[in-house]
């Protein structure tokens, strides 16, 4: 009779693990997408209200998000970008820009540097799930209230240590760059469903377009 109780416990444990998989790969996406949509709507509303012909970095509202990332190769629409890469931020189904260990330089600042971002590969919105679909030359577009920042991928590092913070450097040497410039770095975990290594994609700014009254997307997104 103890055998049957033990058997039941084992079956129960199996079911709980199965449920955990469902939770990780499905349920966290549901709640993350919900949170991300809510915050994205807020940002769009803010932009639409226009708060008095501002523009410029001073008008940046970093609390709800600073803009949207469009990566056609990832086929996931627009990804809201928020400040920070803590679990709490990223679990809302957004991409976060690094504040630690290396501070990201925002494109809106106009300064040279590295706009470094992280997002989940699986679960919690899985915004960078298809990062492996990105190839050299693919566009990455960052949309803010009044500008489109068009980047082109120039280097990919499919596997690196999770301690390799050099990939976030303002001049990421590992990508082959020696001189300061306007770079973007996407990081996430790899292989899928694990966190053993990091996957890194680097891009370089090629163009900045002004947002027009209809928010016409740049050619790369059409």
């Amino acid at each position: 009779m103890t055998v049957s109780v033990l058997g039941e416990l084992l079956i129960t444990a199996g079911l709980v693990l199965g449920l955990f998989v469902v939770y990780s790969l499905w349920w966290t996406n549901v709640i993350a997408d919900r949170a991300a949509n809510r915050q994205a709507d807020k940002v769009r509303d803010h932009w639409a209200q226009g708060d008095g012909g501002t523009g410029g970095p001073g008008a940046l509202d970093t609390k709800d998000g600073i803009g949207f990332l469009h990566v056609p190769a990832m086929k996931n629409g627009e990804v809201l970008v928020e400040k920070g890469t803590s679990t709490k931020v990223l679990n809302d189904g957004v991409a976060g820009y690094y504040t630690d260990p290396v501070k990201a330089v925002l494109p809106t600042s106009g300064k040279e540097g590295n706009f470094s971002l992280a997002a989940h590969r699986d679960g919690h919105g899985a915004k960078f799930h298809n990062i492996d679909k990105l190839k050299k030359g693919d566009p990455i577009v960052f949309e803010t209230k009044d500008k489109w920042y068009v980047y082109k991928v120039y280097a990919v590092l499919p596997e690196t240590s999770k301690y390799n913070v050099d990939v976030l450097a303002q001049v990421p040497k590992e990508s082959g760059k020696k001189k300061p410039g306007h770079y973007i770095t996407l990081t996430t975990c790899t292989p899928v469903f694990t966190s053993r290594y990091r996957y890194v994609v680097w891009g370089e700014l090629v163009r900045v377009d002004q947002v027009d009254s209809e928010r016409t997307e740049p050619a790369e997104l059409r």
Partner: protein, 60 residues
Amino acid sequence: MGYGRDGMYGWIWRHLPGNAWIKALTSIVLVLAVVYVLFQYVFPWAEPLLPFNDVTVDNS
């Protein structure tokens, strides 16, 4: 200790009140309650402790 030959689930089943239909309904409610607690409290707590979802590079 009273679990009989049919294990703890059998024990629970026999101690639920009412006829088979009511027992079945109660069981479903119990299962849903357990799933709810798991999704709402247990999994969110356990997830950061498991090495599946770290996406950033850092020094630590």
